[in-house]
């Protein structure tokens, strides 16, 4: 801004940045590019017919309620549904602890708003979800990256997070790494966190997208008082409705609620009623398996293509759910430098560096397998491997 502008930005505004992923997505939306960059669920899985029937019912039976202002906590029936569903996964949850949010991204924003002071520490996995870094950053924390292996945070590394306001983790099919924490690792991490008095923020957008067996129970089931749990309808229904939820220990609920009220009064009541109408009678029990089957076939296609085409020195672990492969390239390859060459070859990915709060590893990339067909995956991975070989 010029010196004549009357506007003065807040200090925190300097911590806000354009999403690198969104910038990449713009470049890769050219026709002819096979995008393995997106984090979007497949629209083939959107339950359009069920949505059509549910919206018609809501606008027939409760139009005035659906279109009027509503409570900041969320629709009582939907909060009850979430609480009952989570109890089925082993959590002790009362509906009074559930706040409906405008996507789980808003849950991250509210957590940051209520818990993070400028200069306070926030611990994250390495790598971690970029959107969480973006949600927390405006509250000006100092990020601490906890060392991880293919099974999640290393219990012996947790002491580096001592004194942080919380440790943020995605135990199930993490974005970007695809990894799922084992039962033993969950037990060890929670025990260490409790010993350190280090609370947890557990984000679970992908937990229902398992391919062979459900993931172990959430961390919140082991330490309810010390865990804020975030969930979402984006991956099992549709993200365009922007519906998520926060489950918080009772003492945190009033402040999260006040922050929610100040942020947008409430999540659209219309959307809450439509989603509750869709899911109330067990719809997800038959719908989610169809998404799992589709994503599993695409995961298999990407595994086969990676094995067939990637040059020596690349490493990946096969994800057992979710949406992503995480690939480590030879140590001397910079994925950011590789991207334009890959795009010239007709394929796009997200360089991994964006997902690190500190000590970014330049030789990593995230590959999504959910919005592309098996045939496109095969072509895309072949083109990516060719770009890698040219760069070597």
């Amino acid at each position: 801004m010029t010196s004549r502008t009357p506007w003065q930005l807040a200090q925190r505004a300097h911590r806000m940045n354009p999403s690198i992923i969104r910038e990449i997505l713009k470049v890769t939306e050219q026709p002819g590019i096979i995008s393995l960059a997106g984090g979007l669920p497949s629209p083939d899985g959107f339950p359009v017919d069920a949505m059509r029937e549910a919206t018609a019912r809501v606008l027939r039976d409760t139009p005035r309620e659906a279109l009027q202002y509503a409570s900041s906590e969320g629709l009582p029936a939907l909060r009850e549904w979430v609480a009952a569903m989570l109890r089925g996964h082993g959590q002790q949850v009362d509906a009074a602890q559930v706040l409906i949010t405008t996507g789980s991204q808003q849950g991250l924003d509210l957590v940051g708003k209520v818990l993070v002071d400028p200069g306070s520490r926030v611990a994250v996995e390495s790598p971690t979800y970029l959107g969480a870094l973006q949600a927390f950053a405006p509250y000006e924390p100092v990020f601490t990256a906890v060392d991880c292996d293919d099974d999640g945070p290393l219990p012996d590394a947790l002491h580096t997070a001592e004194g942080a306001r919380f440790l943020y983790l995605l135990p199930n099919f993490q974005n970007p790494s695809g990894r799922c924490m084992s039962e033993a690792r969950r037990a060890a991490v929670v025990a260490r966190a409790q010993a350190l008095n280090l609370p947890l923020v557990e984000d679970n957008p992908y937990g229902d997208l398992w391919f062979d067996a459900p993931p172990p129970p959430p961390l919140a089931a082991r330490w309810a008082d010390g865990t804020v749990y975030l969930g979402s309808f984006s991956k099992v229904l549709a993200p365009g409705l922007r519906l998520g939820y926060v489950v918080a220990p009772a003492p945190l609920v009033p402040k999260l609620l006040q922050a929610k009220q100040a942020a947008d009064l409430h999540t659209p009541g219309f959307n809450q009623r439509v989603v509750h109408e869709v899911i109330r009678d067990g719809f997800l029990d038959t719908h989610v398996p169809t998404i799992r089957a589709r994503y599993k076939a695409q995961r298999d296609a990407m595994r086969a293509a990676l094995e067939a085409h990637m040059p020596a020195g690349c490493r990946w672990t096969v994800p057992t759910g979710g949406m992503f492969f995480w690939v480590e390239l030879p140590a001397n390859v910079d994925a950011i430098a590789l991207l334009p060459k890959a795009v010239a070859n007709g394929v796009a990915f997200v360089p991994g560096a964006a997902f690190f709060a500190e000590q970014a590893r330049a030789n990593t990339m995230r590959l999504s397998f959910v919005t592309v067909s098996p045939q496109q995956i095969e072509r895309g991975i072949r083109a990516l491997a060719a770009a890698l070989k040219e760069a070597a």
Copy 2:
């Protein structure tokens, strides 16, 4: 929280409070109470049939786009519609300056996030919209209340706001006072603000709800570079969709957009498409006049009832649009103490004290005339007057 909790709240959390209005509304939702307390638009004005047709069309023609993640800026067609509509009201607006928000409450939150530092000053009218105080408070400003008369902020009082990050105003049928700034006052306020290099945040949820003549052009039409303008579909369509917009000077747009992205990624694309489908062909040109006519009749009923029943020493100005009467009681009457007596008599209102950032005037109240019938208004005001006479 007990001393054993692992959670530590951010400093700003102590600036968050439960909404007094929402607490009052809970009390007054008892059957048999005539509530003049609500700020809710009348559900009789919700365009249910148009919504039904629009949702069916959106889910038939663009279901995958409507249910997928969407751009943080908002639906391009809706941004264009907003820009064109505002140009029709005399503003110079390009669609690139328009961000779609999750209700205009989110616009207030984003403005606070991007512009307010702890300890910085934010100037507001006296009284002002409580929801704005709640949106800005978590960013820890010091509030300055600018002296006002029945025509809005006094130009000669604006110097008390010098150095503030912005002056927040509602020029049209203000919540809570109902007042509408005259053309001359707008000119004088903008001239003084420009001279002081004091930027403006102009909130306009009620501008379309005029009864006899449209209000003068917005402040943003006089000082585009120095004004952030907020609008909403809540009062002309339905609040349950949570759709609003921010129009910002170009240099502020990227930071507001980044803040938006971090806050909830984007406003539900489904809702944006449905609303655009409803309004694209001039629907509001015939719909809004029906709301105006309804509210005007109810305003007339409240004016008549106030004149017929209120005891001497009470003062009000008849609003020329919007949803509220603002009543000044005799100087010795405390509206907060009066409320339980009024509720015992079967009527509820909002004590005015909540709407002051400083120097609250206890002898004031806000009366809403939009969700109650003329008959209920007559009964409610009679009951209120009786409670006042008992208290005297």
